[in-house]
């Protein structure tokens, strides 16, 4: 088994790089779109508010695999042909934007109303108040659920192998077909995914501890 692992390790590493690239690109898209959604959702324009709520409800209810297929096959049929990598990024980004915007919203809501009033009393403009008072505190509250979501995002990137992206899962699939040793290969892939999970959840735990210490 170890010999087989050694033989396929370079392929797996290449797969890990692709998985991380998908994760990174999807994360950027999700955060940007999520910020837009939360701005629309908490804003004054009623139509935008309903649109944001609708988007969040709909995307949270559709399974990620369906979104991946829609981004790759369905968009392709209507003339938007994305390569597998970008179809995966769009699907994951669109889904996680809905989740992130909810985390951002509860982050914003966690900031005490008094903070806003204090900033206004000091004569700050709306922009200065957001930048210097509200957002720094909201970010602190957003980070734990945001990190948790990131660990789910990495796991969900494993779905892009279904549209031919050569990620970690894809390499494990190839290797298990070539060697007829599926258990060995999927366990090896599992070790990689588990390492990322442990890494992120430990960072998360340490972060929470730090924040609590600073606050008390």
């Amino acid at each position: 088994m170890l010999q087989l692992w050694q033989q396929y390790l370079p392929d797996f590493f290449a797969g890990v790089v692709v998985s991380l690239e998908v994760t990174g690109a999807a994360l950027v898209l999700a955060l940007a779109l999520g910020a837009l959604l939360v701005t629309a959702r908490t804003g004054r324009v009623r139509v935008l508010r309903s649109l944001a709520v609708g988007y969040i409800e709909i995307f949270r209810a559709i399974p990620v695999l369906v979104l991946v297929f829609m981004a790759y096959y369905s968009l392709g049929q209507v003339g938007i042909r994305l390569p597998g990598f970008w179809a995966g990024v769009v699907a994951l980004g669109a889904f996680y934007a809905a989740l992130y915007s909810e985390d951002m919203r509860s982050g914003l809501q966690s900031v005490d109303r008094g903070q806003r009033e204090a900033a206004q009393a000091l004569g700050m403009t709306n922009g200065a108040m957001m930048r210097r008072v509200i957002l720094p505190q909201a970010l602190l509250a957003f980070l734990p659920p945001g990190t948790n979501e990131l660990s789910n995002l990495i796991k969900d990137t494993s779905l892009v192998f279904t549209i031919g992206v050569a990620d970690l899962m894809f390499q494990a699939n190839q290797a298990s077909a070539a060697t007829f040793q599926p258990m060995d290969m999927f366990v090896l892939a599992g070790l990689f995914y588990f390492a990322f999970y442990i890494l992120i959840s430990r960072i998360l735990a340490r972060w929470e501890l730090n924040v609590q210490r600073r606050r008390s």
């Binding site: 559709i62 399974p63 369905s74």
Partner: protein, 214 residues
């Protein structure tokens, strides 16, 4: 549009299979989950460590990888499960991993204080759990349980990858027959949307009922 009419019935059959598997898996994982949560809270250090390790593995590995380990991985040891059996087994094992944590949190939240009151009344631990803690814990856990149900419905989409004839499988077949992926995956999306939004609405109604009756 005639594609929709043509494939509606097949998709519905796929949806029925999805719901059936979800229902069986959730029922079993809730029962095992309650027992495992009680084991983790009161069963000593070793049992708690084993259960924690299990939950970490279920949470740490991608769902699709877990399913492939059960379906393809076990075949390496001549354990050949049917797609349905492998899919159901995975849904149950995955569900237990989530249910344990939901119940542990729910029971722990009530047991603080209420557990001591039950002790003070001379109840045994089993009596305290059954008569005092669990009835209250259910109410607290209702929202997480509904989220869990929706999560499991979404997880059934992965089962088509090992050959279970669910909604995704039908959408896939429909796509190769008609070359209309926009319509076929659109129908699949609408099907899941209807199921999941209905479940979350039902959950909301249930929660309000329970809240009102207290």
């Amino acid at each position: 549009m005639h594609y929709v009419a043509l494939y509606w019935a097949v998709m519905a059959r796929g949806g029925a299979l999805d719901l059936e598997m979800t229902a069986i898996a959730v029922a079993i994982s809730v029962v095992v989950g309650v027992l495992a949560a009680i084991g983790k809270l009161y069963g000593g250090k070793l049992l708690a460590a084993i259960i924690t390790g299990y939950v970490e593995v279920i949470r740490g590995l991608p769902p699709i990888l877990q399913l492939f380990i059960i379906y393809f991985g076990l075949s390496q040891f001549q354990i050949n499960l049917s797609p349905f059996a492998a899919g159901l087994l995975w849904l149950i094992l995955y569900g237990i991993g989530y249910a344990v944590e939901i119940f542990r949190a729910g029971i722990a939240a009530v047991a603080e204080g209420q557990g001591e009151a039950a002790d003070a009344l001379g109840m045994t631990r089993a009596q305290g759990l059954r008569r005092v803690i669990l009835p209250q814990a259910w109410v607290i856990m209702l929202p997480s349980l509904m989220t869990f149900l929706v999560l499991q419905v979404k997880n059934t989409t992965l089962l088509y990858l090992v050959g279970v004839a669910d909604i995704m499988y039908q959408a896939r077949l429909g796509t190769s027959a008609t070359e209309q992926p926009a319509i076929m995956y659109g129908m699949a999306a609408v099907a899941y949307l209807v199921i999941n939004l209905t479940l979350s609405r039902l959950g909301g109604v249930l929660e309000r009922r329970v809240e009102a009756s207290r």
